[in-house]
């Protein structure tokens, strides 16, 4: 296979169907499972449906324990869903060969200190996917790696350096270069800037935006930082205890949030504006036990607007154009 030929997406189906689609995706873990003993089921991801049009950025927002990491691993094919399906450009993931899938979807992880093998040089790390897939001749691979380095703003001369010689921002650039060297269609970015300093975060966000335009990429951007969402994303999905509570275009959701949880998240953003004082989002304190999620709406114990049905009846999803919300206030 030649370097140029690796990604010519099949033009027929790709035009209409979303580049990535999740249908009713569920993943249940068994916690505390021992020999001859059933574990307790933990529904880390519970009936998530999302679809991402080509070239868009979908942000998945949620706090720790909401299932976003499990969701991202399923989207990368690293974990199998318990039920539900993933479609890549209309094809079910189950039918796509693992390697072929890897060529389309690549990850960028949070911690650039953990995501690069300390024993490999930068060039080896970036060229690794080409080796794995047997793309190009060995000599071309290093050149391809260096081209990629230039694209992500790394000096070519760093090709023989080791990760320990680079700064956090440079390492994250290496991770991005490795993810992009196979020219994937989709990048799953799991908190790609939350381990970095603010000035470096800005550089990486700018880089990701530039690359998206240049390479026609689709991003799934997993984050807890709503100000980053507003800057980066077209669509946003707010996740809580394994469920998507609200989704829609960023402008709508962040400017007129409907779900009380989205409201609370928005209220918690601390922008560096002087004299505003601390916000007091009206939230209950108790984070529920994911092993024993509350009945009815999962958010009701912390919800300032909870009323009678919230404690018993799970709210249905109410869709309106691009947006949807799961809350009894909108039934």
């Amino acid at each position: 296979m030649s370097l140029a030929a690796i990604n010519a997406p099949s033009a027929d189906a790709a035009a209409e169907s979303p580049v990535l689609e999740l249908r009713n995706l569920t993943r249940v873990f068994s916690i505390g499972k021992r020999f001859l003993r059933e574990g307790k089921p933990l529904r880390a991801v519970d009936g998530v449906s999302l679809s991402i049009p080509r070239g868009e950025v979908l942000a998945i927002v949620g706090e720790s324990g909401c299932g976003k990491t499990t969701l991202s691993r399923m989207m990368l094919g690293l974990q199998q869903p318990t039920s539900g399906e993933i479609f890549v450009s209309g094809e079910p993931l189950a039918d796509v060969d693992r390697k072929a899938f890897a060529r389309r979807v690549q990850p960028v992880f949070q911690d650039p200190y953990s995501s690069l093998n300390p024993r490999k040089t930068i060039g080896q790390i970036i060229a690794d996917p080409l080796h794995i897939h047997g793309v190009g001749a060995p000599a071309d691979r290093l050149a391809a790696a260096q081209d990629m380095m230039e694209r992500v703003g790394l000096a070519r001369r760093l090709v023989h350096s080791y990760p320990s010689q680079l700064s956090g921002g440079q390492r994250q650039r290496v991770a991005i270069a490795r993810a992009l060297v196979m020219r994937p269609e989709i990048l799953i970015c799991d908190e790609p800037t939350s381990a970095l300093d603010v000035s470096v975060q800005a550089q990486i966000l700018n880089l990701l935006q530039t690359l998206r335009a240049e390479l026609n990429l689709t991003y799934v951007f997993i984050t807890h930082d709503l100000s980053v969402v507003e800057y980066m994303a077209d669509h946003v999905a707010v996740m809580y205890l394994g469920r998507i509570l609200e989704t829609g275009p960023v402008r709508e959701v962040l400017h007129a949030p409907r779900h009380p949880y989205t409201r609370a998240l928005l209220d918690s953003i601390l922008t560096p504006e002087p004299g505003l004082g601390l916000p007091r989002p009206d939230l209950g304190r108790g984070f529920p036990d994911p092993l024993d999620p509350p009945p009815g709406c999962r958010f009701h114990p912390r919800c300032p607007k909870a009323f009678a049905p919230c404690a018993t009846l799970p709210p249905a999803r109410v869709s309106e154009g691009d947006a949807s919300v799961e809350c009894h206030l909108y039934d």
Binding site: L78, G153, Y162, T210
Partner: protein, 302 residues
């Protein structure tokens, strides 16, 4: 290329941090234990390799007319036999040099065998987890429950004193430390995102184990191997001393101590010289191993 992604400032002002190898070299050169340990080890190894050329006498040649000649510091010491001769008139220095050859060979090969067995089990258990890991843990527990010396004694007594048999025996008896350490290190490495990246690239498990996991374990394996080698040399000496290891007349340090035992009150040097040799070699190997750990571990954490 747009202004925002090219980052000329980063390059213009940056002096690149030293490479991991340069750092290691710097730390190694300022580590006295490592220098002394490896220095002595290198000396012994060199002597062992060059034994046919540098040993002053044939280690097997008996000269009954010059039995138990004093070493050079004794009252009747002669330069012809620097470390004296033993009860059969064989030159002690020559036997010591040839004995080093044997000790190092047994120590090295048995440590390699143990390392192969232990690391393979440890890495597989740590990487795959689940049932594979349960099996590995079971094997480790069985191995740990074995009384090493007792098994070594009985097997050596049955199988006899061929060198190959001893190497295999000691290799199969000392792999547990490799397995325990590599297993837990692999478990930690497995959770690192660079393994996830390789998986997300479609890399096979074999490739990940060989290219991503093993290179990160190598330093630790070398450290364990050095400790293991020291232990094996001691056990071999003990077996030979008890007459269950290497058979006479092959020159082995343990055997030399054993042979000197009967005359230890008249000619104590016959025990002290090979005893000191064992002691110094084991200390040197341990110092070298500790040094390797000190020099490599700060970087290993990065």
């Amino acid at each position: 290329m747009s202004l925002t992604i090219a980052d000329p400032g980063a390059d213009a002002f940056e002096t690149l941090a030293p490479s991991p190898r340069a750092l290691m070299r710097r730390r190694a050169l300022s580590h006295p234990g490592l220098l002394i340990g490896t220095g002595f080890l290198a000396l012994v190894t060199l002597a062992a390799i060059l034994a046919p050329w540098i040993s002053p006498h044939d280690p097997y040649a008996q000269d009954l007319s010059r039995r138990m000649a004093d070493p050079i510091w004794g009252p009747k010491g002669e330069w012809d036999h620097v470390l004296g001769t033993d009860a059969l008139g064989r030159d002690v220095l020559s036997r010591l040099i040839w004995g080093a050859r044997l000790s190092l060979w047994i120590g090295f090969t048995a440590a390699v065998i143990a390392g192969l067995i232990g690391s393979t089990l440890g890495v597989l258990g740590g990487y795959f987890g689940g049932r594979v890991d349960s099996a590995v843990v079971y094997l480790i527990n069985v191995k740990l429950a074995l009384p090493v010396i007792l098994v070594a004694l009985s097997v050596a007594a049955i199988a006899g004193g061929s060198i190959t048999a001893i190497i295999l025996l000691l290799g199969f008896l000392t792999w547990d430390r490799y397995a325990v350490v590599t297993r837990s290190l692999t478990q930690q490495l497995r959770e690192r995102d660079f393994i996830m990246s390789s998986l997300a690239c479609g890399a096979s498990h074999a490739r990940i184990i060989l290219r991503d996991i093993l290179p990160n374990l190598l330093n630790q394996i070398i450290v364990i191997a050095s400790l293991d080698m020291a232990l094996i040399i001691l056990i071999e000496a003990a077996l030979s001393f008890l007459g269950l290891g290497v058979r006479s007349p092959t020159p082995s340090w343990g055997l030399m101590v054993s042979e000197g035992r009967s005359v230890m009150f008249f000619k104590p040097f016959l025990i002290m010289v090979p005893g000191a040799a064992i002691f110094l070699l084991v200390i040197a190997i341990n110092m070298a191993g500790d040094g390797v750990r000190d020099v490599t571990s700060p970087e290993g954490r990065a």
